[in-house]
């Protein structure tokens, strides 16, 4: 069970309080009528499935009730950072996460 840092509570809380909420930074198209069916389908259904840092949303369901964003590496399955909803993608300094170390180890 992860410990996830909630950017609103400013505390690490047990994963069991949270719910995963899909890929982050997918903005709902307000002028949806202008989109072609293909474009709308891409917004609706197409998601990245990267083997890398993944921007994703989590919901602190049994805590402060806030949705927030996280960067989690899908290869190491480690949270790199979490940040409040509405903020831009954070710049990840490769030296601050231990992805490389684990790759070398295996």
């Amino acid at each position: 069970m992860f410990e996830i840092h909630c950017p609103y509570c400013e505390e690490k809380k047990p994963e069991i309080e949270f719910a995963y909420a899909g890929e982050a930074h997918i903005v709902r198209e307000t002028k949806a009528d202008d989109l072609s069916d293909q474009e709308w389908a891409e917004f609706l259904f197409y998601r990245d499935n990267k083997r890398d840092d993944h921007h994703e949303r989590w919901w602190h369901q049994h805590g402060c009730n806030m949705f927030f964003n996280a960067v989690r590496n899908t290869q190491t399955d480690k949270f790199v950072t979490t940040y409040k909803m509405g903020l831009n993608r954070p710049k990840i300094n490769p030296s601050t996460n231990n992805i490389k170390a684990v790759q070398n180890g295996k």
Binding site: Y8, C9, K13, P14, E17, H62, G63, C64, N65
Partner: protein, 187 residues
């Protein structure tokens, strides 16, 4: 009309290292205020709302808990219910905010005794040591499959609230735990 919380607590949980008591009738309001209006709202309403998630303020009659960045809960006795409601309605004219009566949504328990923190920890994954969870700290969290809210009121005393239909489930764990601690101690 009969006020009936319809919850039974095992006889063994009345005293000793673990006592679990059902709280009597309470008035509870969920308040939602824009964080940037909190200070002005507090001044206008006189409600002692703490500013940070996980903090609480207690007066002799009221308990105020900050549960989210724009979410508070006020708990008081039914005698103060009308006064509180009037205050909330009045302030509503001046502020953009929400208040909702959740008095009967929750039931509250007071857990006390040496085993109070351990009893909560049988189903709740939070660190309840005094350092990590000091007196006055509150949190919405989980107890196994039940969402709960806890507030530490003393070193060995907690208030635990849950939605009413989850209460028998949670009390069932306390009953089992009591059987275990009394057996191990008497061993």
């Amino acid at each position: 009309m009969l006020f009936n919380q319809d919850i039974e607590i095992g006889a063994a949980l009345q005293s000793g290292d673990l006592s679990v008591k059902l709280m009597e009738e309470k008035t509870r309001y969920s308040l939602r205020i824009k964080p940037n209006e909190l200070a002005a709202f507090k001044k206008a309403s006189g409600l002692k709302l703490p500013a940070k998630i996980g903090k609480s303020t207690r007066t002799t009659s009221h308990t105020y808990l900050c549960l989210g960045p724009d979410e508070w809960m006020v708990i008081t006795t039914p005698e103060n219910s009308n006064e509180l409601r009037v205050k909330l309605e009045k302030t509503a004219a001046e502020f953009i905010y929400s208040y909702t009566d959740v008095s009967h949504r929750n039931v509250g328990f007071v857990l006390s005794g040496k085993q109070a923190a351990s009893a909560i920890n049988i189903g709740c994954p939070l660190d309840l040591s005094l350092d990590a969870f000091p007196i006055g700290k509150a949190a919405r969290t989980v107890f196994e499959n039940a969402p709960i809210m806890i507030l530490r009121t003393k070193t060995a005393e907690f208030q635990l609230e849950c939605w009413r239909s989850f209460a028998p489930y949670i009390c069932g764990f306390f009953d089992r735990y009591e059987t275990d601690i009394s057996a191990y101690i008497s061993e």
